[in-house]
């Protein structure tokens, strides 16, 4: 099992095979439903990249998934599984909303935005803090507590949006619309020189923030002392303790980083698109982050393309549902499950076969 494979196989070929199998099975389901998988794939790609408007939407979704993917990946490196991205993002949105609601008439957007970034990260991190400290100090499993915190977050947000933060009962559970100071610019200026017209798509400057955060995560995990401690803890907690690394601090700080990243996801839909705080704006993105992190092998360089792929799936899937009413957007949820299964839980299924193939190759060469 543990024979070495060339790095490009371990980090490139194997994930590709796993994801390909996931898509193959999705194709079989499409066939089973009585539609053509080839046509479905074509419609999906066209729906995701066909024109500037579609590309804008694809990258808008990708922005969200970069944040949640990074959140899951950071925790993975310390051997922690943060399933709470969903709740942390939801509460992160509360941070964004509170900043925008109180500052949007006083400050211009370029001052509100940095404050909202801090708000989102702080609220998300705070929501991850309790599961983290319970894991570090009392040994309760972070997987279970973060699941519980997702539900608690959801109940809390329904309570706040249908109660104290609600604008009026007629409009349903949501806050008032943010004024100009709570709205951030779109990104069409960046793409129009290339002749891509994004039209009314909601792609906004949070996309750039997501790319910056991907770089920041890379620096933290691979270029700092803390990142080294974190990865040591992930590979071998006992070695970390033996080396005198502070276990409690590693767990708590890693989880708060993770929660902060998940929280920052909220900037994209709340400030960049809906410009108000409303129910369920996370829409499962916290869970997509798990698939993205697994597919991207927990490395920012893998997470960004994986997030774009999932962005394309979400956007293309929505368009596909128009053209093939038999294939609803639930298809995407299923594909997500298959990717998590094959790229995550069964990641080593094809490994023995690959090891054999490469071993025989090397024999031939020798």
């Amino acid at each position: 099992m543990n024979q070495a494979l060339p790095k490009w196989v371990d980090y490139g070929l194997m994930p590709l095979i796993n994801v390909a199998v996931a898509f193959l099975i999705a194709g079989l389901v499409v066939l089973f439903v009585g539609e053509s998988p080839v046509e479905a794939a074509y419609l999906m790609v066209r729906g995701a990249f066909g024109n500037g408007y579609n590309i804008g939407f694809t990258l808008f979704f990708a922005t969200t998934f970069i944040f949640t993917g990074l959140a899951v990946a950071v925790a993975f490196h310390a051997g922690l599984f943060n399933i709470g991205g969903e709740g942390q993002a939801y509460i992160g949105g509360l941070g964004v909303g509170l900043i925008c609601l109180s500052m949007d008439t006083i400050l211009p957007w370029w001052l509100t935005f940095p404050l909202a970034i801090i708000g989102a990260a702080l609220f998300g991190a705070a929501w991850a803090f309790i599961p983290a400290i319970l894991q570090a100090k009392r040994g309760s499993h972070v997987v279970i507590t973060t699941i519980m915190f997702n539900f608690i977050a959801s109940a809390l947000m329904v309570y706040l949006l249908a109660g104290p933060l609600q604008k009026s009962a007629n409009l349903g559970p949501r806050t008032r619309d943010f004024e100009a100071g709570g709205q951030i610019p779109k990104l069409d200026w960046l793409f129009s020189p290339f002749g891509i017209d994004m039209g009314a798509s909601p792609l906004n400057i949070t996309f750039l923030l997501a790319l910056i955060m991907a770089a920041v995560v890379w620096v933290i995990v691979w270029r700092t002392r803390f990142g080294f401690e974190m990865r040591t803890q992930g590979v071998s907690p006992r070695a970390a303790v033996y080396a005198g690394m502070p276990e409690v601090k590693i767990i708590v700080v890693t989880m708060m980083l993770s929660g902060g990243l998940a929280g920052m996801m909220a900037l994209n839909p709340v400030m960049g698109d809906q410009t108000r705080l409303q129910l369920d704006f996370v829409e499962g993105a916290g869970f997509v982050g798990i698939a993205v992190a697994l597919m991207g092998r927990s490395h920012p360089a893998g997470i960004v393309p994986a997030a774009i792929l999932f962005g394309a799936l979400y956007q293309g899937g929505a368009e596909l549902a128009f053209d093939m009413p038999n294939i609803t957007r639930d298809m995407i949820v299923m594909i997500q499950g298959l990717v998590i299964l094959f790229a995550g839980a069964m990641e080593f299924m094809f490994r023995p076969a690959l090891v054999r193939i490469f071993a025989s190759q090397q024999e031939k060469m020798a």
Binding site: I147, F149, A155
Partner: protein, 320 residues
């Protein structure tokens, strides 16, 4: 008195699917296979049960289909986490998504009603049973109404669920199968040394888990409701998981935990927006969040200590 009985009756109704899913998780986790895919298996079971019952018109065929689908998902979980030694949490997450996506997708493609299955006729469902003497005894104070309205009048699956509590206890603690099942969850190497297959014992445990999840799903879609609605499990799989931890992985305690969480659910339905004495109007959301909050407090070690099976979550590797 009447309101109390109604409240308790509602408690039992809310507790049944929790109890079945919770016992399902008990088999799996006692054997060392963590399962956060209870929700997905229940959902898949609910859909399959309703779809098969709608097509064939038979509740029993529906129940069978629900069990088969949930067991199939269990076997995927087993294949990933036992045979391929994958991460059990990741596999559970995958099951939840596959079940949610697939049941909604197939529901739309087959029945074209926005992910619902057609409304079921009475013979395609498990209907409430009237226990013997329920009418005759109803005149007796206290015992009569309790027997008639609380004990009698549930469907077959509900009685099965409560019967499963002592059965599960007996299977786990008084049979050879149960001993081995618990042993592979605590110390698989010892079981292996005794010449017993860890893999097969764990597979049997996840199959038990699948069967019970399928029945829990069927209770929802062809028992208390007349058809499948998209996402009808609504997080019950996770409440069941919370109950399992709350019960510290013990069958009888699992029943009490499920009844407690069912009671919270019943209050939430019954007293929505009604002002209670002393506390005033309790926000519905607080009731919804309470099972999760209680579980977190328990996990934090403030109400006893929940210690999971020792080898839980660890794939067994025979040779090193």
């Amino acid at each position: 008195m009447d309101t109390l009985i109604q409240l308790l009756d509602l408690t039992v109704r809310s507790a049944v699917p929790l109890l079945l899913a919770c016992l399902a998780g008990l088999y799996s986790e006692r054997a060392g296979v963590f399962d956060i895919g209870l929700e997905g298996k229940m959902l898949g079971g609910a859909f399959a049960a309703a779809a098969a019952a709608a097509v064939t018109g038979s509740a029993w065929i529906g129940l069978f289909a629900g069990i088969m689908v949930a067991v199939a998902f269990s076997l995927i979980h087993g294949f990933a986490s036992i045979t391929n030694k994958g991460n059990q949490i990741v596999s559970g997450v995958a099951i939840n998504f596959m079940a949610a996506g697939l049941s909604a997708l197939l529901g739309q493609a087959w029945f074209n009603q926005g992910g619902r299955t057609p409304q079921l006729q009475s013979e395609a469902r498990f209907n409430p049973l009237d226990l013997p003497l329920a009418e005759t005894l109803s005149g007796i104070p206290v015992i009569g109404p309790v027997y008639q309205d609380l004990v009698s009048g549930h469907n077959l699956i509900a009685y099965f669920a409560f019967a499963m509590v002592p059965i599960t206890w007996w299977v786990l603690f008084r049979t050879r199968f149960g001993l081995r099942l618990r042993a592979v969850g605590e110390n698989p190497a010892a079981v292996d040394t005794a010449g017993i297959s860890v893999t097969w014992a764990r597979y049997r445990a996840v199959i038990c888990c699948g069967i019970l999840c399928g029945i829990a799903g069927a209770y929802l879609s062809i028992g208390v409701s007349a058809g499948y609605v998209k996402d009808m499990t609504a997080g019950r799989g996770f409440i069941a998981l919370a109950a399992l931890i709350f019960a510290k992985w013990r069958p009888v305690a699992a029943m009490w935990a499920c009844l407690l969480f069912g009671f919270l659910g019943a209050i939430e339905i019954r007293y929505q927006g009604v002002a209670l004495p002393i506390v005033g109007v309790v926000p519905v959301q607080l009731m919804q969040a309470l099972p999760y909050v209680l579980t977190v407090i328990l996990l934090a070690g403030f109400i006893g200590k929940a210690i999971p099976p020792k080898a839980g979550g660890v794939p067994y590797t025979k040779e090193r």
